[in-house]
Structures are given as structure tokens and as C-alpha cells.
Amino acid sequence: MSVESPPETVVVDTDLDEPPEKVWRALTEPALLDRWLAEAKEKAEVVESEPGQRLRLAWRDFDSGGGLVESEVTFTLTPMITGGTRLRLVHDGFVHTSCMGALALLPRALRRPQPTMLRGLAWAA
């Protein structure tokens, strides 16, 4: 399993022994989801589904101040020659909405390439 860390995106790649059809069931059947995603599945809503290949979820969190953090989780399944599945998870598109209006997780100012400015952010270090 590898975890890349580009800013504002979480990517996890993992090779599974089971075929895509079986992995798909674990990603979509409620009783199976309960066993690995547990209560976090309440945060997800299916946006797009290509059975056995790709599952896109809208993901919602509430922060301690009552604001909403919206993001997107995509699972991509690729069959491997071994009969197993390469599973890629991408979690990105984080947008924070307070009761007063939408605000991207990091304001536009910080998205410009300014290395000296970004040095202060924990994930950019």
C-alpha cells in the first residue's frame, strides 16, 4: 500500500488478491461496508457508479464549528494479471462551507506557486 501526498489530495494505491467483482461487493454492499468503513459510511453518497470499475462518492463532514467540509472520494478498480485487483483511492476536492458562505479549503492566494509562502504549511513541508 502506498500513500502519496500531493497537497489537498489523498491517494492510496493497494493491490488486492481478490478479483474486481468481489472487491466491488465489499465497496457497495451495506453489510460488508459496515465491517470496514463502519459509521463513516454515513458521510458518503454515491455520485457515479460503473460496477466493477469505478465508484465516485460525495463525502461530507461537519467541523466542530458547524461548518460543512465537502469532498470527493473515488475508488478505481483495475484487474491484475494475477487475478487480483489494483485499487486506487483518491480523496480530493475539499471545500469548506461555513454558515456564511463557501470557502475553498485553502484560499486561491495560496494555490499560486509561491514556494516561500507554502513552506509554512505542514503538508507542504
Binding site: M1, V3, S5, P7, E8, T9, V10, V12, T14, L16, D17, E18, K22, V23, R25, A26, L32, R35, W36, L37, A40, D61, D63, S64, G65, G66, G67, V69, S71, L87, L89, H91, F94, H96, S98, M100, G101, L103, L105, L106, P107, R108, A109, L110, R112, Q114, M117, L118, R119, G120, L121, A122, W123
Partner: protein, 105 residues
Amino acid sequence: MPPEAALFRTLADPTRRAVFERLGDGEMTVSDLRSGFSVSQPAISQHLAALKAAGLVLERRAGRNAFYRLRPEGLAPLAGWVDRYRTFWPERIAKLKDVLKDMQP
């Protein structure tokens, strides 16, 4: 107030957020900042004071001038949301592997 909520309260004002984003271009004085905004210089100064209090902006004085610049570390509580999932997902996928092992073919 939790740090995230304080930040969002500070940045919720559109003019203040615009001032903050404008400082992304580099260090500037209040009068540099004022051009392009339809609000008065005292209003800009007030927004800068709020941004300073929230730890989002730093002030540097040189003679009679005050220069303002971003303090990006001030946004760290927001970046924490992404970091949270950087540990969450590998843990969950380890559990998914266990579930797959237990499943009937």
C-alpha cells in the same frame, strides 16, 4: 471557539477574504492594498487588524510605513482536514483487506 471556526468567522467576510487573497501577491502597504477596493482606507485597516488577530497576516513597520504579508501557517487548521484522511484511508483499507479475506467466493 475551535480554531477552525475562528478562521472561518474571520474569512467569511468577502472584503476581508479579498484583502487576504490580494496579499498573496506579496507584501504591501494599506494604500497599495486599497487600490482596487471600493472601501475606505480605515475599513481596509480594520480588516487587516482582524486578519492579524486571527494569525493570518503579519505586520512589519519601517519608518512611517506598515507593510502587510500573509502568514500561511495561520491556515494550518484547515489543512488538517486533508491530513486526517491521510491516516484514515490506509487504516480503513487494511480493514477492507480483512473483510475480503473473510468473504465467501
